[in-house]
Amino acid sequence: MIPSREIFWNVGSQQGAVYLVALMSVAIASIGLLQHIKGWRKGRKEKIFDQAGNRLKYFFRFLLSHERIRKDTYAGVMHLFIFWGFVVLFLGTLIIAFQEDLLLPFFGRKVLEGNFYLIYSLVLDLFGLLAIVGVGLALYRRYVLQPEKLDNKPSDLILLCLILFILVSGFCVEGFRLNVSNPQWALWEPVGWLFGTIFNVLGIATSTQRGLHKIIWWLHLIASMGLIAYFPFSNLFHVVSSSLNVFFRSLKPSGALVPIDIQEGEQFGVAHIQDFTWKDLLDLDACTRCGRCQENCPAAISGKPLNPKKVIQDLRTFLQPFSHNGVPLVSNIVSEAELWACTTCRACMEVCPVFVEHLNKIIEMRRHSVLTESKFPSEYKQVFKNLEIFGDTLGKGKLFREDWASNLTIDRVYQQNDTGLLFWVGCMSALYDERSKNTPIAAAKILEKAGLDFGILGEEELCCGDAARRMGNEYLFQHLAKKNIEVFRKYKIKKVVTHCPHCFNTFKNEYAQFGADIEVVHFMELIVTLLREGKLNVKSKIDDIFTYHDPCYLGRHNSIYMEPREILGLILNSDMKEMDSFRDKSFCCGAGGGNMWRAAVTGRRIEGLRVEEAVKTDASGIITSCPFCEIMFDSAVKQKGLEYSFRLMDIIELVNRVT
């Protein structure tokens, strides 16, 4: 006997009903799908079909490897099980449909026969089991482990139960079928066989089993069709939306914000939901509420009102069919406290498995708030005015910009004829306090030791505009950027080196938006090159054990993780210690996005948490490579009374000391 089975065994005569149910569910699903599309279409137009090949390639890699999802192992495995379980089961169902609706009626042939059928059965059974395990893991995680990042809605339970029911009922049907028809190849359907054996052990009569089979078969079918109908209305829709989001993910430099036209208009940034682009709205839909952003957000962790997941989910309510588009977002949907708590550290985006871009939404809303409404935390007014009047966030003025170099002989580029390299000092280093000047001094000495011809702009430096831009003041940013670019052009500057990650990111990723044509290197990249080329030599090594803090704008925004570790490896005698969160998971210092100038409103201080983490490593000090981080940590270290026992230094100072 050729192994096979009759598809509508035991239900035969009601096939039509099956198709009717299927049709209904697909219709309902389509309505749901259309609503989603309608929701996305609320947004502005944006063309992102570039690099379709690359996008497709990455999309499949993403699906197959689950690389971003697997960053959280439990969730990754769980998702992998359910995903592949479903993929295979779905394919299996497709094969059946292919056979029953195409091959059999038109060609009178079957594919589910013989060995293929046996393997088909086995594979489907195993993957079905995998999916059950996955769903089990999901249920266990959601309702037993209950990690804080997950918020359980009824729909989550319904969905999981529905899936579980479909899977289990499928196996029940299989078990009944095997028991009643009792084929020789029952063991090729091991899970079904197991279910059948259990039914037999329970002593259910064969006739009863036949009856039950019919009932449960229908239940299984209705549940499955129900799932299809329910699909666009449930979290399961992420199968579509998240996939699309992965495909349409941003390929722009990760540190860059999108410029807006500030010459004309009455309205800037995002005031209402329709001011977002369709991709932004797809983002909202793609969010699976996995909570990883929340788990990694420094604001959320330190008890500030911001929770990136909540922001996305709150905005998502506008995608629903009868939502009122006219509601202003800021202060109605996203509170001002939430809006301004973001440090723009990009931790949320880095961990988001489906490439939701939280940051640009927050910035767009900030832009609206600042530019259109002129509403922002009161401390920022002084910062904006300082930038406008003095050209630096601190309100010190250009005449103080060369003070740090008073003991050094450094060329000013405006006095040079032949400009080589521009060393960009940045406001924080040049102006903040005496301590902050150590870094540029060390940097200049390193450049000198390496015999590089360089100059500084001195009084002609202006703030790069990073702070203004991240605080939503695009007007100020563009104003500053244009002035700086003008100066670059005036002195024909081609290459800029800076040690401030914020200046670095802005020059490298954002100035091109305004026509700057400069090569930008971070000081650490330069040091690594100099060390490799032997232009800089390590003369002695340092005994202390240090830990390294990855600044957000160097690490996550620009992927410079390797250089500092290479340098530290060369200049420290012992291995550096990593903190609990490092590299792409590095925990922000709390200064970014304008929070430098804001008194912490609620919750714990972010820099304090980071310093605690650093102290926990038992290292004797923390090394960073960002003046902002240094200032923040300095205050935290002092506040904790560790001023003398726990050292804080810029990596450049350390390098200067040993070369």
Binding site: S406, E434, S620, G641, Y644, S645
Partner: protein, 656 residues
């Protein structure tokens, strides 16, 4: 921002043709012995440390312009600035200071009648044959040729200073030294063109200035340090010095004037005036008075200025243009940087105790600071390096020694726990600071207490430590700083009820009668300050000592002057040369140590012993061999002074 708090103190200032980065000037002071007539390497390191600490300008120690000169009474060894051999070391010095963007001026002087033939081997030169009240050697009245020779000596020295790369010279013209001796009718009674009228008396000085300007040119800083008031009968007064300053300004060749309290070493009274019993900024009025009469010459004030806020106030009130400091910077070389960075609280404030600096230097010992062990040994022990391995350290005793050890150990990264059996930190320092005129001594506790707290030393107060407790803690290092207890001398009757010790009195533990007899075996502050404490309460006090005079050991610090003044005006009786041999009831019997004659002092209500102490080393002994590393510091080793405790604490902190 810090600049806001110190608008003037940290604003740059133009002296002559150079700009100093702030208003803090380290005034000249002798601190380390000088060998072979050139600036010593150790001294350069000492100066480098101060420049690194952020001062605007530094004046070198006083340097000689002639072989007949000895500028420091009783302290051998001046830099012979007139000799070209000094130039290489000058260059080294200038380089060290310039590295930190500070300026350096060389101070030139001739000791005049304060010279010492025993040191120079040459006759003492002076304007007139009138001996100095302290040195008491009859000088030779200088002949015109000798005067001219000296002027050349100044010129040569100034030239060397310039060639050595320093930024300027400062003439030391306080009345203690030759130029000033010419000013004063008290020491200058010449009948020729260099004596008589003020114009004549200033002629020597003016000639020196003219000649130096000829040699160094007009673009080199030339400052002069003059007194403000000689404060001796018949001496120059503030009004006279105002006139002198005016005439100096009129030459147009002087770039700044420093007004110094140290006009004379008569009875060491001026050093007393710099001690902690003098009011803070007691001498500022002199520079303020000069500022009123001068039109443009910058004035440097100094003397009892030890706090940045105080300094800022002086500048803001227009009492001076620049602030001179010496002892404040000996105590904390980082003074300027700490103030500028808004860490004024972290400054180790000078106590004006004069014990590490004046007293030792005048006893021909290398100067130091009782609070700062690194003075003069900056290179060897000045840097506190983090420890290779972090240890668990227990310090028993929160006196100065214990706190310093805890501070340094913590700075090096150790985990430190400090135990103190009293309710507050400070140990015996708290007792010393109870006498009103010694209140500033409490700054030892203030600084160390605050630092250990800030650094995160775990502090346990009111805990009596037992050996079991220590063992239970299982620490890597145990430091015992349990101090001392008073020692009961074997005098018959010393166990009587009316015999008490100094500590009991200062703690107000005992009731002290009206007639008090203090037995001073200590010769330091113990007896005389207790006497002050009691005399202030109106008690009748007598001090007996077998030594030459009461408080003999602190004579060289100059502090005896104000204390004696206070004690004598309150009727305190001093009975030196007398050894107490018996106390019976209200009668104390003494023996003259020279004649062996017996003295009976009757009607004594309370006898107070200011004798030695006994090391409190019980805990140390019981822990010996029981813990991994065991050390002891301060009185618990052998009862001595605060300085020993702090220095030992420092050294130990660096060692473990």
């Amino acid at each position: 921002m810090t600049n806001g708090q110190f608008k003037y103190l940290f604003s740059p200032f133009k002296i002559g043709n150079i700009t100093v980065k702030n208003r803090i000037i380290q005034t000249a002071h002798k601190i380390l012995p000088c060998r072979e007539g050139v600036t010593g390497d150790q001294y350069i390191e000492y100066m480098r440390e101060r420049a690194k600490g952020g001062v605007g300008a530094i004046v070198t120690e006083v340097m000689s312009v002639h072989p007949t000169s000895d500028n420091f009474p009783g302290v051998p060894g001046d830099v012979m600035a007139f000799d070209e051999n000094v130039i290489p070391q000058f260059k080294k010095l200038a380089h060290a200071i310039h590295e930190y963007d500070a300026k350096i001026f060389g101070q030139l002087s001739h000791g005049g009648r304060q010279g010492n033939e025993e040191i120079t081997g040459l006759p003492v030169w002076a304007p007139s044959a009138i001996p100095d009240p302290v040195i008491r050697q009859m000088p030779k009245e200088m002949e015109i040729e000798e005067i001219n020779e000296l002027i050349e000596g100044f010129a040569k020295a100034a030239k060397n200073v310039r060639e050595g790369g320093l930024d300027g010279v400062e003439l030391y013209a306080s009345s203690a030294y030759l130029i000033g001796q010419f000013f004063s009718p008290d020491s200058n009674q010449r009948k020729d063109e260099f004596g008589g009228s003020l114009e004549n008396r200033m002629k020597f000085c003016i000639n020196v200035i003219d000649r130096i300007r000829e040699v160094v040119g007009s673009d080199f800083v030339l400052g002069i340090k003059i007194g403000g008031d000689e404060l001796v009968p018949g001496g120059l007064t503030l009004d006279d010095f105002k006139e002198i300053a005016k005439r100096l300004e009129a030459t147009g060749k002087i770039d700044y004037i420093t007004v110094t309290p140290l006009v004379s070493f008569v009875t060491f009274q001026m050093m007393g005036g710099l001690g902690m019993s003098a009011p803070l900024g007691a001498w500022v009025h002199q520079s303020a008075a000069m500022k009123e009469v001068l039109s443009h010459t910058p004035i440097v004030t100094n003397g009892r200025i030890k706090d940045p806020i105080q300094a800022e106030k002086i500048l803001a009130d227009g009492h001076a243009d620049l602030i001179g400091m010496a002892r404040a910077l000996i105590s904390d070389p980082e003074f300027a940087n700490k103030a500028r960075e808004g860490r004024s609280d972290d400054i180790r404030t000078c106590l004006s105790c004069n014990l590490g600096c004046f007293k030792r230097v005048f006893s021909s010992l290398p100067g130091t600071c009782i609070q700062n062990a690194a003075v003069g040994r900056e290179k060897e022990i000045g840097i506190i390096e983090p420890a290779k391995t972090r240890k668990k350290v227990i310090v028993v005793g929160g006196g100065p020694g214990g706190m310093e050890a805890a501070r340094v150990a913590r700075l090096r990264g150790h985990r430190v726990t400090l135990y103190e059996k009293e309710k507050e930190l400070g140990g015996q320092v708290n007792l010393a600071a109870k006498v009103p005129s010694r209140q500033e001594f409490g700054d030892v506790t203030r600084y160390l207490g605050q630092q250990v707290k800030k650094l995160g030393v775990e502090i346990n107060l009111a805990v009596e430590v037992t050996p079991e407790m220590v063992k239970r803690e299982n620490a890597d290092v145990v430091i015992i700083a349990t101090g001392s207890t008073p020692f009961l001398p074997p005098i018959p009757g010393a166990d009587q009820d009316n015999v008490v010790n100094v500590r009991q009195v200062l703690k107000d533990e005992v009731k002290v009668g009206e007639n008090v007899l203090l037995i001073d075996d200590d010769a330091h502050h113990k007896a005389i300050n207790t006497a002050e404490y009691l005399a202030n309460q109106g008690k009748k006090v007598e001090i007996v000592t077998r030594l030459l005079f009461v408080g003999m050991d602190i004579a060289a610090s100059g502090l005896l002057y104000p204390i004696y003044q206070n004690l004598l005006s309150k009727g305190v009786k001093f009975t030196p040369h007398t050894m107490v041999i018996q106390i019976s009831g209200n009668t104390v019997t003494g023996l003259n140590v020279y004649t062996y004659g017996q003295v009976n002092i009757e009607g004594v209500d309370t006898v107070i012993l200011a004798t030695n102490d006994l090391a409190e080393d019980l805990l140390y002994r019981s822990l010996k061999g029981q813990v991994k590393e065991l050390y002891r510091v301060g009185d618990c080793v052998a009862p001595r002074k605060v300085m020993n405790a702090i220095h030992e604490g420092y050294n130990l902190g660096r060692l473990i």
